[in-house]
Amino acid sequence: MVISSSNVAIDAATADELAQKADALVKRMDELGVKGITSSEVFMMKASELVTRDPSLANELGKMAYELNLDAAPVIAEKLKEIAAV
């Protein structure tokens, strides 16, 4: 049915948008050296190191913790903010 194919087209567009967003996220994570990290603690460690060197990364990395659905995302985000404020 046309509706069916139309649905597929809409879904494909959404999927494409999501894929592009995910690609951009992965690319940026690769640049920052946090690509492939799935553990909250490892992410926290790496992100703290980066923010200590460059406080301007705090917000971006805090948001990334949520995008990655990390268990302790709220704590990570708050801690990074604290580190950046020192």
Partner: protein, 467 residues
């Protein structure tokens, strides 16, 4: 407990039930030669044939099966006066910590059987915050390594003691061993930074910001060491009495709004994950994104942080009200939602907000209506794209029915439960979509993709050829 169970845990792990419901009869712990703490929880379960005892094995490797423990009757103290779903983990020394949504609710102990309501919140919140603080201290120390040769030396030593800590975690040596390894690393950071600050100050070789950063790592490691000692003290001293949750929280976080905010955000995030698990049809997707967005914004704005967290908590409450209707038959899930609500109410209290109440029926109706309207809009747009006009629309708010007639004979209707049906010009079903589900398409009333049904349809509707 049978001899076989005593003798061979590995075999028993294989036959563990994934879920058991019962009242705790006793808790015993055994430390195995590899260091694992194995806890045997004997549950009194009720079945058709009467009451029986069932042993469940839990290790601090995580949960081998989940325990659903009914604390509703004496001698066990009721945390919520009903059945609650818990995940159980061992704290060692005969203590088991039962958590719900990551928030500890009950401390089970060999000596006292059960301690409830908030007692565990101290070790558990402390544990999450402690692990994150440790990771943060180590990360900051590494980040400071470029400041001076001394800082680089501290970072190297800390990296080494962090490896020991990781080994303890990997080898599952238990909570006590973890705490010791954690404290060793923190001592290395604290002592190293203290020395580095003293020497660098004397040499006057670093700028003010670098010294401030070093002082911050020193302060954070010192503060974590103190709270770790206090958490151990609380867990051991207080497990013989019951603390209310808010009293426990006030005791833990008296003067630190930032820590309270972190804990409140964690509760909202926990509820987000819980709703996310129930979001198979995508009904909650928009709201989940909003919760995430509020939490993400909360860390970007000091002034607005509490407001964003409170909004995230409100949205989580609303979604839980909807999930509650979907899981009416699942008592365990219903009770977990109740626990989540209680946690959210506490979290709202922490950040100084007011706890609203959301009616399950109204919330479901609003969400379903919004979902259905979006689906109808999509179908109308799809028809418009094919140059098929809408001939008539009937929106009966009272009866909760929307009906749309298209020029090509398609008829679309949405009932008050949010079920969308569309029939073709021959009045055969062409689309069916239930709330939170993706649309199913039909040709001549036969589902697309259903091979058997399609074959049956083809047999009864032979293709006629004219030659």
């Amino acid at each position: 407990m049978s001899d076989r169970q005593r003798g061979n845990f590995d075999e028993d792990f294989e036959i563990l039930p994934s879920s058991v419901t019962g009242r705790v009869n006793s808790v015993n712990t055994i430390r195995r030669s590899n260091g694992d703490v194995v806890a045997i929880v004997s549950l009194r379960t009720e079945a058709k044939g009467g009451t029986s005892l069932q042993d469940v094995i839990v290790t601090d490797r995580g949960i081998l099966g989940e325990l659903n423990i009914d604390f509703s009757k004496p001698p066990y103290l009721p945390p919520h006066d009903k059945l609650v779903k818990f995940e159980v983990s061992s704290l060692g020394k005969g203590h088991l910590l039962a958590t719900s949504m990551g928030v500890p609710e009950v401390l089970l102990s060999r000596e006292t059987n059960v301690r409830v309501d908030g007692i565990g919140i101290i070790p558990a919140v402390a544990r999450i915050l402690a692990r994150m603080s440790l990771a943060s201290c180590v990360g900051q120390t590494r980040g400071l390594s470029g400041h001076s040769e001394l800082c680089a030396q501290v970072a190297e030593k800390v990296t080494s003691s962090m490896r020991d800590y990781s080994r303890v975690r990997e080898n599952k040596l238990g909570a006590d061993a973890e705490r010791h390894a954690m404290m060793n690393t923190l001592h290395d950071i604290k002592n190293g930074m203290e020395r580095a600050i003293r020497i660098e100050l004397a040499k006057n070789s670093l700028d003010e910001r670098s010294l401030r950063q070093m002082q911050h790592v020193y302060d954070e490691s010192q503060s974590l060491l103190t709270s770790l000692k206090e958490a151990v003290h609380e867990a051991h001293e207080d497990h013989n009495r019951v603390l209310s949750k808010s009293a426990a929280v006030k005791k833990l976080l008296p003067e630190f709004p930032a820590a309270r905010r972190q804990a409140a955000a964690m509760v909202a995030w926990g509820a987000h994950q819980m709703v996310s698990n129930e979001n198979t049809g995508g009904l909650h997707t928009d709201r989940l994104e909003k919760i995430k967005a509020h939490l993400a914004k909360s860390h970007q704005s000091d002034q607005e942080a509490d407001r964003h967290i409170e909004r995230a908590l409100h949205l989580a409450l609303r979604s839980l009200a909807v999930v509650e209707r979907d899981v009416q038959q699942n008592k365990i899930m219903l009770d977990s939602i109740e626990v989540a609500r209680a946690n959210i109410a506490t979290a709202i209290e922490w950040i100084g907000g007011e706890v609203p109440t959301f009616d399950s029926y109204e919330e479901t109706r609003a969400l379903v209506k919004r979902d259905a309207e979006a689906a109808v809009r999509k179908i109308v747009e799809e028809h418009a794209a094919r140059d098929i006009d809408v001939q008539a629309v009937r929106n009966d708010e009272g009866a909760g029915i929307i009906a749309v007639h298209f020029a090509n004979g398609d008829k679309l209707s949405v009932n008050k439960s949010g079920v969308i049906r569309m029939t073709d010009a021959n009045d055969k079903l062409s689309l069916l979509q239930r709330p939170g589900e993706t649309a199913r398409h039909f040709v001549g009333g036969v589902p697309i993709g259903d091979k058997d049904a399609q074959e049956a349809f083809d047999k009864t509707h032979p293709v006629l050829s004219f030659g």
